[in-house]
Symmetry: C2
Subunit: 191 residues, 2 copies
């Protein structure tokens, strides 16, 4: 998606340690027009798929899911990140290590919100090593629902998370795929 790539080049901030900050339009301040275009693009890509629910994860994922829901009008479930184990039998709970925060979170979804008859589209803002997406796809698998695929705004392809998920047969659609990134050389996208 050229508009998103252009915006990443223009307003993305690269920091040492492989950090790409997109706080000015996707992660803290939200450019609602850009988000609307992201939502429409994701809906277009999955226009042939039957989708009954959108699954994402707090916090930034919620904005993308809301943008998609304008074009695919189904309920959203946002998974919660908790520090403490919820021992309830009624909650799917999967550990995920956050490289950004350097801590392990429990990704949790109440079981009653996903049934085996659901067809789930997962959306998120970033895909790097795939930690959050592995947790979300794991939850969908455990629920018995079908997984339509994953739609991601920005993928750091060189971190391998997307390839690993694709290798499991999961459809991954990323709107901006970063091939390499450094403070010195800036951002190079995949074609």
């Amino acid at each position: 998606m050229q508009e998103l790539k252009d915006r990443i080049v223009k307003d993305g901030e690269i920091y040492p340690g492989d950090v790409l900050k997109v706080s000015s339009f996707l992660n803290h301040q939200l450019d609602t027009e850009l988000l609307d275009h992201i939502g429409r693009e994701i809906a277009d890509i999955f226009s042939k798929s039957k989708i009954t629910k959108i699954l994402t994860i707090e916090a930034s994922g919620i904005a993308i899911a809301m943008a998609v829901s304008r074009y695919i009008n189904v309920p959203i479930i946002f998974a919660k990140k908790n520090k403490n184990k919820n021992m309830s039998q009624d909650v799917y709970s999967v550990e995920a290590f956050s490289y950004t925060k350097g801590a392990t979170n429990l990704i949790q979804v109440e079981k009653r919100f996903i049934s085996k008859d659901d067809a789930i589209l997962i959306v998120d803002d970033f895909l790097a090593k795939g930690s959050a997406l592995n947790a979300l796809t794991g939850i969908v698998k455990e629920s018995g629902a079908s997984l339509v695929g994953c739609a991601i705004a920005i993928e750091k392809v060189y971190q391998g998370g997307g390839a690993e998920l694709a290798h499991k047969g999961i459809r991954i659609e990323s709107l901006a795929k970063i091939k390499s990134m450094s403070v010195e050389d800036g951002i190079v996208f995949e074609d």
Copy 2:
């Protein structure tokens, strides 16, 4: 807003300790159609006001802000809840005690996203004691921007947070105002 009140009565879950769970439509699973109506209603209420940015707080607030932005097409800023002090001079940082989580968070917004020329509408899902809203209004005040008002989905009027903010001259608009609530007697709304 009758549709929201009806939904709270139908699907809200009351637990001991003054807990109202709206997980099935506003806080974990999102009814995107209801959210759209909430967004339109808030935009209607503030239709005479000039608004340049919407300010909210992660996570559930993001969904409401996105719904409003469909009708008031301005950027959204979502404040972050952090555990650790960010000593940066570039961040507004205000302490807020979360009664739901029983912990103090630092509510943070990067200064570059609010200028003194901005006219800010604050939106959030819940208003009870007003802890989060006090933090957000404090940030707007510190920034020198003008505060148009606060739009809230559900206010627990009996907890007094709304009255306290209104007493400071802040415009508070809540779509569903709960006068009293108990497991035994259910929910009573203000007229």
